[in-house]
Each structure stands twice: as structure tokens, then as C-alpha cells.
């Protein structure tokens, strides 16, 4: 035991002193912050100001539509919304003249206009007019069309209501969209904050598990090529070496995540509030979320780094390792692909099943615990299943490790590895 401790301590101290550790500790949050702020910046820059023209012989309809479109924005014309989902629409209502179409087409060509809506009055009275929308390009076409369609139906409805003698004020009340206020639970903003915070931690967990898992494999290969094993195995059992290495490297990962979280929590007062889409998104993490983050991070790291240790023992060079790394990265990438599903529906059957499969548990169950409502037995079961599979993996990999570290030359094939498992 004392040797495991010595090995882990050496591994930890040697790693934490390197420039690489300091660089990744500083750079990864910077890069992530860069991504987040960059995307906010870009989305605000690409201010979705859409300029369209409404052409109609019925001036009243055109003006109604204009005011509806602008009111529908809920804001003034001068200040474009930061939310990319609600483009600001600048509307210009105009009457039909013989050369209108030509002028508008020209404006579209010269990028002065994003599109125009042509309203052809109905042939028979009482029927609906025809609406033709000519966009500049395909970009954003659907969203503008949707906005236009919604505004149009409101306008037409109001017109109909007015026809039937309903006062405009009453009509407005009737047309008021229904708002449901959540009586219990988080508000929309809180939920969004939690999603972003948990998403960031999810990404961190993914990154650190992958990074440090590979680190374990790489350092096994390094010790193999420098023949340190020959020296070490004269005093230490290979199992102790593997344990020391995994614990030492893992502690470095934990320290790194710990530093990040500590700094993030320090900075996240009211001062660090990201203005994201006009909503207040802040680092919103509860104590259980942080505790479970570490629980699942440790499980995930142990799971993947034990496999990585075996991969390192089986290969002789980084090049050979890369071919095996696929098996390590694939499940992690799969988790990443399901991120959206689990984030939106953390308590669906699919999410519940996926989160119980050991390779996915650390990342996905963490999401469920943070954002969904898994039953306590589900949490317990996930931890139990993952721990059991870690035990199994360590059993297998320590056997591969014990023999692999003394094997140089060609990479063993599968039957050979299976035979290794039988050696006592």
C-alpha cells in the first residue's frame, strides 16, 4: 500500500510541476470562455435585422400588418434584440405602383432589402387575399415566413373581429397569447442557467476523462520504452504500479477540475452574470450537483483510465496506441451525441436506460442527476453497476498489464491477450 502511495505521489508531483499542467489549467477555461463569449458575440453581431417591404393596394391592411409585426417584436425598432430567435423586422409598407416590383427586385439584388411580401387582393369579396413572399436568399426564409404568417393571421383575425363589431381593445384582449406561469419549480431563466452550467461541467468531465485517460496510456508506454518497468518490477507488483499510476494521474485531473471549480465559484457572484440572450445566465450549481459531479467524474475516470492502462501495456508506441484509442473515445463521443436528448428530456425512458449503461453512466447519469429527477434507486444502481464494471475491468487490465509491460516488439493479437488472462 505504501508503494502505491509512493508511486501515486511521484506521478502527481512530477505532473503537477510541469508547464503542461499550468498551461492546460489556464488555457482550457480560456478556450471554453472564448467559445461561449464568442458565440454570444457573433450572434449579437449578426444582428437579425430583417428589412422587408409589404406591397398592397389595401393600405390599411399593409399598415396593420406593419404595426403588428413591429409590436409583435415587443420592443422598439431602434434596439435590436440580442436573441437570435427573434429577428427584428423593419417593415416598409407601400402602395402598388407599376414599377414597384422592378424596384424591389433591384433592392433585393443590391442587398438593401431582405424580401418583400406581395399582397394580391382577393378576386371575390370576402375571400382571402393571396400572399407571396419573395426572400433575398434562402437564409432565414422560414423564420421570416413564419413570423409573417403569424402576424398576418392576427391582423386578418382582428379585421374579421372588427367587421363583426367588436371593439379594438376587446379584440386585443381576446388575441392576447395565453401565458402559463409555472407554479412550482424553476423559472425559465434558472433552468437555462442550470442547463448551461451543467453543460459546461459535462464538457469538462468529458474533456478531463479523455485527457487524463490518454495520459495514463501514454505514460505507461513511456515507462515501457524507457524500460523503467524492469527496475520497478524488481520491487513493486505490477498491480501496485498500475494502481499508483491511475491514482496519481487521476489526482492531477481532480486537482485541475478542483481549481477550475473553485475559481468559477469565487467569480460567480452577481458580478459574473453572462448576458446570454437577454436572460441572466449565471453559474448556477447546487451542492448536490457539484458532489455528484465529482462522484461521477471519479467513476468515469477510473473506468476509462483502467482501459487506457491496458491499452498502454499492450502497445509499444503512441502510434499503435492511437489505433486502440478509438475504443476509448467512441463511447465518450456517443455520450456527447446524446447530450441534447438527455438535456431536454432527462427523465425519458431512453435517457433512463442510457444512463444506466456503465460506459455512459458517468456523463449521462450526471446530467440526469443535475437536470432530471432520477429515483434514488437509479442513482444507487448506476453507481453500483459502474463500480462493478470498474472492478471487472481492473481485474482484466491488471492481468494484461502484468504481462504486457514486459512484452516488447510486436503488438499482441486478441487470442494472445486472452491467453494472458489465464496466466496466474
Amino acid at each position: 500500500m505504501i508503494r502505491v502511495w509512493l508511486i501515486a505521489r511521484r506521478e502527481y508531483l512530477e505532473r503537477i510541476r510541469t508547464r503542461g499542467f499550468i498551461i492546460t489549467t489556464v488555457m482550457i477555461p480560456l478556450i471554453m470562455a472564448g467559445f461561449i463569449f464568442g458565440s454570444i458575440f457573433l450572434s449579437s453581431k449578426a444582428s437579425f435585422v430583417t428589412e422587408i417591404a409589404i406591397v398592397s393596394s389595401d393600405t390599411q391592411l399593409a399598415l396593420d400588418l406593419k404595426s403588428e409585426l413591429q409590436q409583435g417584436q415587443g420592443g422598439s425598432l431602434t434596439q435590436p434584440s440580442l436573441d437570435p430567435r427573434k429577428p427584428t423586422i423593419i417593415v416598409d409598407a407601400m402602395a402598388v405602383a407599376p414599377d414597384t416590383k422592378a424596384i424591389l427586385d433591384q433592392e433585393i439584388d443590391s442587398d438593401d432589402l431582405d424580401g418583400y411580401l406581395w399582397i394580391t387582393p382577393a378576386a371575390t369579396p370576402g375571400a382571402r387575399p393571396t400572399f407571396t413572399f419573395t426572400p433575398r436568399s434562402s437564409t432565414g426564409e422560414t423564420s421570416i415566413k413564419d413570423t409573417l404568417a403569424a402576424a398576418l393571421s392576427t391582423v386578418l383575425l382582428r379585421e374579421q373581429l372588427a367587421h363583426r363589431g367588436i371593439v379594438a381593445a376587446d379584440a386585443n384582449t381576446m388575441l392576447q397569447p395565453v401565458e402559463i406561469v409555472a407554479a412550482k419549480g424553476s423559472t425559465h431563466e434558472d433552468r437555462e442557467s442550470a442547463e448551461v452550467s451543467v453543460g459546461v461541467l459535462f464538457f469538462l468531465m468529458y474533456l478531463v476523462i479523455m485527457l487524463y485517460g490518454m495520459n495514463v496510456a501514454r505514460s505507461v508506454i513511456e515507462e515501457k520504452t524507457s524500460r523503467i518497468f524492469e527496475v520497478m518490477l524488481a520491487t513493486v507488483r505490477p498491480e501496485a504500479m498500475m494502481a499508483g499510476k491511475i491514482l496519481g494521474v487521476g489526482s492531477v485531473g481532480l486537482s485541475q477540475v478542483g481549481i477550475w471549480l473553485a475559481v468559477a465559484l469565487l467569480l460567480s457572484g452577481r458580478s459574473l452574470v453572462l448576458h446570454l440572450g437577454g436572460d441572466d445566465i449565471h453559474l448556477a450549481l447546487t451542492a448536490p450537483q457539484i458532489i455528484f459531479f465529482f462522484v461521477y467524474f471519479i467513476l468515469g475516470y477510473l473506468f476509462y483510465s483502467s482501459i487506457a492502462a491496458a491499452f498502454g501495456a499492450m502497445t509499444n508506441s503512441e502510434h499503435e496506441l492511437q489505433q486502440l484509442n478509438m475504443f476509448l473515445v467512441m463511447p465518450l463521443i456517443f455520450c456527447f451525441l446524446t447530450l441534447g436528448t438527455v438535456l431536454l428530456t432527462p427523465d425519458s425512458t431512453l435517457s433512463r436506460v442510457l444512463a444506466l449503461i456503465p460506459p455512459f453512466t458517468p456523463l449521462l447519469m450526471y446530467l440526469r442527476v443535475s437536470l432530471g429527477h432520477p429515483a434514488p434507486w437509479e442513482i444507487a444502481l448506476s453507481i453500483l453497476l459502474t463500480s462493478a464494471s470498474i472492478y471487472g475491468i481492473v481485474w482484466v487490465t491488471s492481468r494484461i498489464y502484468r504481462i504486457g509491460v514486459l512484452m516488447y516488439g510486436k503488438r499482441p493479437n486478441l487470442p494472445e491477450i486472452l491467453r494472458w488472462l489465464k496466466y496466474s
Partner: protein, 325 residues
Amino acid sequence: MPIVQLNHVRKVYDTKVAVEDLSFTIEPGTMFGLLGPNGSGKTSTIRMMIGITVPDSGSVSLFDKPFVRKMLARVGYLPEERGLYKKMKVLDQLVFLGQLHGLTASEANQRSRFWCEKLEITEAISKKTEDLSKGMQQKIQFIATLLHDPELIIMDEPFSGLDPINANLLMDALADLRREGKAVLFSTHRMDQVEKLCDNIALIHRGHLILSGSMTEIKSSYPRNRVHIHFEGDDSFLQDPSIESLKRYSGYAEIKLRPSPTLADDAQSLLAHAIRVARISRFEVTEPTLEDIFIEKVREALPIANGGELSMAQLDQPKESDLDD
């Protein structure tokens, strides 16, 4: 009390027999040479002695008791392939390895400094291992092996890559340890080095023991049928009928005499013949070298099917003898 005792040890890797029915003992206060060409089973044997692998059959005893891992605290092992953490500082490295062998940090620190002084590399103490020359790294490794004052010291090719001055420094250190009663096991394919150093030897080839015993006994059991002669001028005396085979170099020949009951006289008459035709600067009658004995033994041990001319290349021997005087 023998320090090491191997009894009919056998080890098979998959289909390859690495060691077959190997037995020998090493006594305290002696140097033991484990000899054989590359791939003959030396490293496999050592690995079984220190519990990295377990013999398939037979037994290994250290310090007069069946092997248990706890004994490793009393063993120092210098592997053939040197292994150090490149990025670590020399002192940190030595202290770490010392602690793994059960020393406290301060003991390890103290002894590292002592040994660095003894081997004249104090200037390396504060450096990173990767900044040291190969010879210096080897000394560090050597120190790491001895730090915990082992009673059994196992050295796999300890002098490879060292210049003569440093090699002598290490040899002297090993001789001191032998005097203190430690047992030293040498594994090498450099027979010439062993000849000077070892008290006892075991020769193995393809996992089989082909010769073992004390150096002096082995040597004296062979007839003094080798003649080394340095000469100038006519070399027609090399056609002498008493010569069975010879290796010719410029101005120098190594001669093997034909077996005969009057070997000593044959040598004298060969000298007389040589003096008549050439100028002789040196003439020596001696036993075969360990290398010669080894080649002879391997040839005897080889099955007929494998027979034929056994070359040095086949034995994977370095051809340094070609370069000697």
C-alpha cells in the same frame, strides 16, 4: 547458507522453452557469472529469481528460504535495459527508488549522496536525468541498485557502454561489496570480463545449463593447449603438424594444438620451429579462454541435426576478440 538456490527450474513462454532444468547456487561473498549468448535465458532466469515471473516447475530459494516477495528488500537488481525517469532530478529519482525499497526519505537521501561521492558524480545530483551522459545515467542506475544495501546484487550487463575508467570504478565497488560478504550475480555475454571477476560461473545456452562450477576448477580441467604468439617475419611455422587450428591476425596468431599426451613438449617444439624462421616477441601457452570453452561446449551440446560449423555470429557474440592486442 546459499544466497540463491535454483532447483530444476523450468519456464516456458507459449511455445518457446526459455529455461529448462536449470539448477545452481550462489554463496555469500562470491561473484557469480551467469553466462550465455543473447536469448539464451539469462534474463528469464533472473526474472524468476526476483519474482517478476514464476517458474512453471522447479523452485527458487533466496536466503535459504522459498521465494517470497518480502525478500526483494534484500535484493538489488540492475536490469540490462536501463530505466530511469528522464524528467526527474537525479536525487529525487534515487530517493524515490530508495523509498520503494523500504528506506525512509532521509536515509535514502543520505545514502544517495554517499554513493554519488563514491562514484564521483556529485555534480550530477541536482541535474535532471535526461541532461546526463549515458555513462552517468548508468552510474545513477548502479547506485539505485545498491542504495538499500542489498545482500544479493544482480547485475545484468553492468558495464556495457562504460569507458574503462568508469567500468573499473564500478568493478572496484562490486569487489568491495563482495568483500563485505554480499553475493553478486553477473549476467553477461562478455566472457572476457567474467574471466577476471567471477569466482563461479554457470554457462547456459538455449535455456540449458551446459557448464557450471568454480572458475579455477573449470579452467584447470582443460589442457593448456592454446598458444598465443606474436611474431615478425616468415610465418611458415604456422604449418607445423602439431597445430590443429588457428586464427591469424597481423603479426599475431591464436593456435590450438592437436590433442596429444605430450602437449607441453609440442608447444616447445612449436616455439623452436618458430624461432628458426621468425622473430618472436611473445609466446604464451595457456588454457582455452572461457569463450573457447563456451563454443566447444555449445558444439557438443548441439544435436547432430543442428550440427555443422558453429560460427560466432550464430552464437550472437560480439567479436571483440578480433580487436584485442
